[in-house]
């Protein structure tokens, strides 16, 4: 569900403008980041969506309806809300914490139980051990996972996250972010995420909204923000090493090319057959998949043109490195450097080839960024 902010404004007292006529649309099923220095209006903007803070003027439209048309309690129950670990209720077990909203919605208890177990599994928390523990018995990272599970409990279309990983140490923070990216791939929610950490923004965000002094300075896709910062403020926020940094943080997942050519390998498939197929395209090489459609390797057109046409193709398949969608572009780049490949296939957990990352595309993507870091 997309969320539209229309001339959204919040004024405290007579003249303290916290949010100044913000217009933007959080896209459906995307992670949109709100970032900026403290007091920039990012958290106020977030809290106006579930009406923890009432706006002064303007409107917020969810799925075509103004949020005023929905009762405030109903609105909040239909939107997941995740804050720092402190938000867990210490007097409730993990199970009861996650079950809060389903219980408010009066779900039957067996449905709640099923849902909680499902979420524990999704969050990588042991469903045998964890549900009956209390927050105080968990580590910071585990608490935060429970917090995310709680936000997702009633399966809301929208998730609001207010610096959810802010209190976690850097190492566990990275892990949580990685886990969170994988979770979003499965759940596909519309997520609005507040952070003050630009690394986190680049790593998680499909889109980034940059705020300063209540104003929206820039709202674009993450790569656009990196490549074309709207002004000095955004440039400073990104830091001078933004090229390398963003390569390190931007995921292959968002930027691979689905345009590639693959052959399915069978026992009988000969070099001649393969060449015929390849010649229908103008590719210089082709990936080869085995019977289970897993990546077996690749063949280079020029090489097999010289080979005996009745040879089984299998003999000429060369193994190749591959990369996981959740790896960073920097990892893809370094894999290219070490393996000498100009393109790396993207292979998911199930062994399926999802696409390919090409060196040329990387260069294009980061072309306008000074990779040396000196301006």
């Amino acid at each position: 569900m997309a969320i539209e902010l229309k001339k959204l404004r919040k004024v405290y007292g007579e003249s303290t403008v916290a949010v100044d006529d913000v217009d933007l649309t959080f896209e459906d099923k995307k992670i949109s980041i709100l970032i900026g220095p403290s007091g920039c209006g990012k958290t106020t903007t977030l809290k106006m969506i579930n009406r923890l803070i009432e706006r002064t003027s303007g409107d917020i439209i969810i799925d075509g309806r103004s949020i005023d048309e929905i009762g405030v309690i109903e609105l909040r129950r239909s939107i997941g809300y995740v804050i720092q670990e402190i938000g867990l209720f210490p007097h409730m077990t993990v199970f009861d914490n996650i079950a809060v909203v389903p219980r408010l919605l009066k779900w039957p208890e067996d449905k709640i139980k099923k849902r909680v177990m499902e979420l524990l599994d999704l969050m990588n928390l042991d469903p045998d051990e964890h549900p009956y523990k209390y927050p105080v018995q968990l580590s910071g990272g585990q608490k935060q996972r429970v917090g995310v599970a709680r936000g997702l409990a009633a399966d809301p279309e929208i998730l609001l996250m207010d610096e959810p990983f802010g209190a976690i140490d850097p190492i566990n923070r990275e892990k949580l972010q990685d886990a969170f990216i994988e979770i979003q791939e499965q759940i596909n929610k519309t997520i609005v995420f507040v952070t003050h950490d630009i690394r986190e923004a680049i790593k998680l965000g499909d889109n980034i909204a940059i705020f300063n002094e209540g104003k929206l300075v820039q709202y674009d896709e993450t790569m656009t923000v990196i490549n074309e910062p709207a002004d000095d403020f955004v440039e400073n926020l990104l830091g001078s090493d933004r090229g390398l940094r963003s390569m390190e943080l931007v995921r292959v997942h968002d930027h691979y090319d689905t345009d590639f050519f693959a052959l399915e390998l069978t026992e009988k498939l000969t070099v001649g057959d393969a060449l015929k197929e390849i010649e229908k395209t103008d590719r210089r090489y082709a990936y080869v998949l085995n019977e289970k459609k897993r990546l077996a390797g690749y063949v280079v057109r020029k090489k097999i043109e010289k080979a005996n046409k009745s040879d089984p193709l299998k003999k000429h398949v060369k193994e190749t490195e591959s990369i996981h969608p959740s790896s960073s572009l920097l990892e893809a780049m370094s894999l290219m450097m070490t393996s000498g490949l100009s393109a790396v296939p993207v292979v998911d957990d199930r062994g399926r080839v999802r696409g390919v990352v090409r060196f040329s595309a990387l260069m294009e993507m980061f072309g306008s960024v000074d990779l040396t870091g000196s301006d």
């Binding site: 609105l75 909040r76 809300y81 402190i86 209720f89 409730m92 077990t93 927050p135 105080v136 709680r150």
Partner: protein
């Protein structure tokens, strides 16, 4: 020997005054909670109002108990309730207001505002925030206030003997006027024992009522 002698010969009276003492407390404490807790809950989030109310409650507590009983006797006499249990219970309720209201206010304020905001953000109504979050987390502090009030009430009830409420005060005041050490001892020992016992019992109750997660958290912080 004189003491034991007195006890054995007056066992019936001792038991009946003890039960009477408990009776008075057992009426007064629930009434105090019934009045004090809602007041505390209502004013907890109004800083200035809370200040005023707690101030009034603490002034009430400084009234000497003898004077308070005197006032009560005069005020309640037109309703035919100037003597006996009514003035005793009312005095106890008056004295209980400070510990109960103050602790409820402190307890509710001690709940992390971010946690309250999380609760609201998830779609709890005000009542749900109160009953599902604020109050369960406030149990230890509120119970401490109730314990405080009950133990103090046990002492104050002794004086209620003077307005005809009976109770263990009988042994102390009669003992004093007759210069009978054995009687005074019976009263003093029983009142003290009751105070200690009540304190212990309510502490156990507090532990029992405190949600397990909160107990674990307190142990952790120790």
């Amino acid at each position: 020997m004189e003491f034991l002698d007195y006890v054995t010969r007056n066992l019936d009276r001792i038991v009946s005054e003890l039960l009477r003492h408990i009776h008075i407390i057992a009426i007064a404490v629930p009434i105090s909670i019934g009045i004090g807790a809602p007041i505390g809950i209502a004013i907890a989030n109004h800083k200035n109002l809370a200040k005023v109310v707690i101030y009034i409650a603490s002034v009430m507590m400084t009234i000497p108990s003898l004077a308070l009983f005197g006032v009560m006797v005069v005020l309640l006499a037109p309703f035919g309730a100037g003597l006996g249990i009514p003035p005793a219970v009312i005095a106890l309720v008056v004295y209980s207001m400070l510990p109960i209201i103050r602790n409820v206010v402190v307890a509710i304020r001690a709940v992390d505002p971010e946690m309250i905001e999380a609760a609201r953000g998830m779609g709890m109504t005000k009542a749900q925030v109160l009953f599902k979050v604020r109050l369960p987390l406030s149990v230890p502090i509120i119970m401490a206030g109730i314990r405080n009030a009950a133990v103090m009430g046990i002492a104050v009830t002794t004086i209620a003997y003077l307005v005809g409420a009976r109770g263990l005060g009988y042994f102390i005041f009669s003992g004093l006027s007759r210069a009978r050490l054995d009687m005074i001892l019976v009263g003093a020992i029983l009142v003290s024992a009751m105070g200690i016992g009540t304190n212990y019992g309510l502490m156990k109750l507090e532990q029992f009522l405190t949600p397990r997660g909160v107990r674990l958290e307190r142990q952790e912080n120790r």
